[in-house]
């Protein structure tokens, strides 16, 4: 396939994956784990797709959208990093940390669309004065389409202009850069986990983290196994909260 054809194919896939974040349904095809795999399937290298997708997933696992915050765009980053790795022969371990700056730039594009969409609101206000429900429908579909474009355009540009550049870079990549990015890639998931920790933890709940860590580090517990113990403990914890509130009611009487 010609470069422009490949770029269009990658961009189409990236656009559809990206669309899932805000455009429709929240089915999570936009998560790096799925996005990397899909891109790998399309370009005929599932193994690379799985590895890059799952590695980027670990980095962004703990980064969540709360309130008005827009998290870094891990979807664009995964789609582009996977495609470049497969098309230019970039080492998967190096492609993963290089996805981070891509995610930051794509995040700014999302902020731009959130800003542009304020214009849709003003247009919607005008339709409301006329009672035009078809008009507001059109605006909603337009907004949805913008999020497809937000995935499509950067992926097209990255592949069309990037493949040869990255190929040239791969040939001359010194060893220390590979080492550096591998170390960085190993550390980066800690940031997402730290963010999740800050969001969820208080002193009262710290023992549960210690328990989970110990079960995994010392006793090699699997994620699913520890999660089931965690589920049981969560219900015990809620029951204790219930008991406490009953006692309080009793004391108030």
């Amino acid at each position: 396939m010609s470069l422009i054809g490949t770029a269009l194919l990658v961009a189409l896939v990236a656009g559809i994956l990206e669309w899932d974040i805000y455009g429709w349904g929240h089915t999570m095809i936009s998560r790096p784990l799925v996005a990397g795999t899909v891109m790998g399937l399309v370009l005929g290298d599932v193994k690379t797709g799985l590895f890059i997708g799952a590695s980027i997933e670990m980095i962004y696992l703990g980064v969540i959208p709360v309130g008005a915050a827009i998290p870094p765009d891990a979807t664009s980053a995964t789609a582009i990093a996977t495609a470049l790795a497969i098309l230019s022969g970039l080492d998967s371990k190096v492609a993963v940390p290089l996805a981070i700056p891509v995610a930051m730039v794509a995040q700014m594009l999302q902020m731009l669309i959130w800003t542009i969409n304020s214009g849709l609101m003003h247009k919607a206000d005008q339709y409301a004065v006329k009672g035009d429900l078809k008009g507001t429908d059109r605006l909603q579909y337009l907004g949805s389409f913008l999020f497809f474009l937000q995935g499509f355009v950067p992926a097209f540009l990255a592949i069309f202009f990037g493949v040869d550049a990255v190929k040239a870079m791969v040939e001359r990549m010194p060893h220390w850069i590979t080492n550096w990015l591998t170390v960085a890639g190993g550390m980066l998931p800690a940031l997402g986990f730290a963010m999740l920790y800050v969001m969820m933890s208080n002193k009262k709940l710290l023992p549960y983290f210690v328990l989970g860590f110990t079960l995994a580090a010392f006793f090699k517990g699997s994620l699913l196994g520890v999660a089931l113990i965690g589920l049981a403990l969560a219900f015990i914890h809620i029951n204790m909260l219930n008991e406490k509130s009953k006692v309080k009611e009793f004391e108030e009487i």
Binding site: A124, G131, V183, G186, M187, A194, F213, A216, L223, V226
Partner: protein
């Protein structure tokens, strides 16, 4: 069919209408913006109901305006809130008496519901399912993403499908229930318990920080990493995570910390302190 105060007939909301709202609700964030967030998405989802309940031009315009007011919550939570809102709109179409209540109820619900969604779904459910999926995928199994997608979407679509009629039938009573049962705090704490245990596993298994330092004692070479593993496996990942927690609590932004990680990784990898 009933007759409202002004003498016009008012249609009743049916199951089919709720289905239409369900399909539209999946576009909830398509026009998200900094000014009023998901407001247009809310109106978009309410459109079949507004069409049905308000044939009068003026009433229809007022309803449109009403649902273009600021709305922001966790995406799944739009469905139970839509349910309650539809029940209120139906009552309003009949009696015209609850117009001002409608937005107050929406605002009253979106906060607590966002609290549940952020802690339970974003903070716990998704990291758990994605973590399990990614762990499979890193071993080279395509089952990883498949399990993740299946599990997530069964829960995603069932919640959104069933919570809509639930909200419609429960109506305004939900507000009182939320207050009395203290459900938001319970779910937040319960999911934090589960989430923190999962997080402990993730830190132990998926943060990769290893030292390449070696000590020469006499003619023996001691690898520091092996010593550390003997004391406590995954010690360096744990330390790395808590250093980052400390910085986050100091108010350092994640983007600055990312740059910091790249700088530290460069320096320590050049001297082979980390490999």
């Amino acid at each position: 069919m009933t007759i409202n105060n002004s003498g016009a007939t008012v249609q009743k909301v049916t199951k089919d209408d709720l289905k239409k709202v369900f399909w539209r609700s999946l576009f909830d964030m398509a026009s998200i913006n900094y000014e009023r967030f998901q407001a247009l998405g809310f109106l978009f989802s309410m459109t079949p109901i507004i069409k049905k309940l308000y044939s009068d031009d003026e009433q229809r315009q007022r309803a449109m305006k009403r649902h273009l007011e600021m709305y922001n919550s966790h995406p799944w939570m739009m469905n139970p809130i839509l349910g309650v809102t539809i029940a209120l709109e139906e009552q309003n179409a009949k009696t015209g008496s609850v117009e001002e209540t409608i937005n107050n109820v929406k605002v009253g619900l979106m906060g607590p519901f966002a609290g549940i969604g952020d802690s339970l779904i974003w903070g716990t459910l998704r990291p758990l399912l994605a973590g399990i999926g990614a762990a499979f995928a890193l071993q080279g199994s395509i089952l990883g993403p498949i399990i993740f997608l299946l599990a997530w979407n069964i829960i995603n679509f069932s919640f959104r499908w069933y919570s809509l009629p639930y909200g419609y039938n429960a109506g305004i009573r939900i507000l009182k229930d939320i207050k009395e049962t203290n459900i938001v705090q319970k779910i937040a704490e319960g999911s934090s318990v589960l989430g923190l245990m999962v997080l402990g596993v993730l830190v132990a298994q998926w943060v990769n920080v290893k030292t390449g330092l070696a000590l020469t004692v006499g003619d023996k070479v001691l690898k520091v990493q092996e010593m550390l593993d003997g004391i406590m496996p995954s010690m360096l990942p744990l330390i790395t995570t808590f250093v980052l927690v400390w910085f986050l609590r100091k108010g350092v932004t994640p983007n600055k910390l990312i740059i910091g990680i790249f700088v530290v990784a460069l320096v320590l990898s050049l001297f082979k302190i980390l490999i």
